[in-house]
Symmetry: C2
Subunit: 342 residues, 2 copies
Amino acid sequence: MTNLTLALDAMGGDHGPQVTVPAALQALRLHPKLSLLLVGDETQISPYLSSAEIDVRSRITLVHTTEVVRMDDKPATALRHAKNSSMRLAIEQVRDGMADGCVSAGNTGALMAMAKVLLKMLPGVDRPALVSCLPAINGKPVYLLDLGANIQCDYDTLFQFAVMGSVLSEAVDKIARPKVALLNVGIEECKGNGDVQQAAQLLLHTPQLNYAGFIEGDEIYSGKVDVIVCDGFVGNITLKTSEGIARLLVHQLKQGLAKGFVVRILARLLAPRIQKVLNQMNPDHYNGASLLGLRAVVVKSHGNADEHAYIQAISLAYTEAKRRLPEMIKDRLESILLDINS
Amino acid sequence: MTNLTLALDAMGGDHGPQVTVPAALQALRLHPKLSLLLVGDETQISPYLSSAEIDVRSRITLVHTTEVVRMDDKPATALRHAKNSSMRLAIEQVRDGMADGCVSAGNTGALMAMAKVLLKMLPGVDRPALVSCLPAINGKPVYLLDLGANIQCDYDTLFQFAVMGSVLSEAVDKIARPKVALLNVGIEECKGNGDVQQAAQLLLHTPQLNYAGFIEGDEIYSGKVDVIVCDGFVGNITLKTSEGIARLLVHQLKQGLAKGFVVRILARLLAPRIQKVLNQMNPDHYNGASLLGLRAVVVKSHGNADEHAYIQAISLAYTEAKRRLPEMIKDRLESILLDINS
């Protein structure tokens, strides 16, 4: 296995180096062939490096800058003005061949805009799609895209998402022919809007993909399919609704188990097991949204990710870079487009 | 308080009279001023009436028919051919002034089509909207519309939804100035698509409504607002996703509490309390989706509603008819449109 280098925007996210640097050290321990470029303020990063073993420390290079993209910066503003920001420099490391991919917990819009301009899109893809892995029943991974990068999508964009999601599932989870479905309000052919219906027609005529038809919201977490495609408006609301209802259930459960002496005692005894279940549902365990369709690997971590969650995001970028995900997507798209045009 | 009569499609739903008739009896016991027209096959309905007390039985009138709308009938087919169906006759009771509203657990599309043609829309409303009450945190009711009746909605339709949802929340839950929000991918003004943004502008200039801005998916169940408006594509997927994730959590919890002897014993002791919490989240406890914008009250029950759930749907129709919801919506719409045009 070859060595890989990832560039980390060490300043991004709500917590900055306090979380990103310890997570980086841990990721280096997990992946002995990994090297990291930590991009950010040396004076803020260095204190967290002192505890590192020699082997781990030797695989870290600091790229110093004090400028950062703020969470409320408009993408266009960040693109035009934050020329020396940790986010931009991290992406530039990838563009310049110094790194095989990058990870940031910073401003999503700015990250997308910078990545698109600096790294360019793959041929046949218009804009990056944001995709994340959700926990289906029994922990089976399911990919949902787009999660909000593309608010309005025509059928052609939905089709591109299906191709990219399918390659992602193959590359990361080693699934042979991932089942791909379109999110819709019913499973009958006549359901949904024009774009969903036209995307379905395209997918039906694409034997390279394992198209499984329409899927409804209540089946997202059923594990029936591996990849679910929708526009960014629907995807964003779907993902956040899931987080909201999961949080509500946990809250109601805690409240329900806090009343009455005997119930409280029993609940306390059961707490570790209940917590274990709830952890499985915790978005942090599935941290890391990939920006697909770019010529290189870019992973976005939750802004408020903790150390564990940030390690997940680094590991995801590592896997995608190792499997050469962008090249895989490019090849698959080319072969499918050739087929369609022949 | 005046007496009210509702027409029940006794044949609709997965279980038919076996569920609808016992539920009807129970609803009559709950509401002493209520009378019911049971529309359906007399030979199937009568056996369930024998246990009824005289007072309850005296408030039931049978309207006999053997024809039914099937769950897989296309709306247009049902409209054209099912002239003597229990669903259609129930709606006709309302049209002809024999009932103040109707309830059906049958085919949603057929119910909407028939209700629209037979009962007509209120002035200023184009199509019925489907709305349901969801359990927000601590059981606070929140109304989400549209749930799938209108797949594509322009800003004007979203605005109508906001008005109707607001009146519903006032009428049913006695909330003084219900907070109304638009479901979106962010809370900043620039977020979302053109229709959502234009609807927001209209709402900002409608002082008769208590417009609370955009809301994201993870806040639907937070109890922050009383009414949430979106198009039927998003609403349908949002509602079903919520059901899916709730089901997943319950499944994982049951699995997690089934392993290990001590855990199993503890879990069994706690089961009644856990079940109580899960029941709160059970959609059956919030059964009954209202068709808004019609000139009369029409409530759709889940097709697979059990007796308890069906009673909820009847009670909802009863409350809406008692509060004269269609007239309230008509008056509010007129006053708002007058204001906008003046």
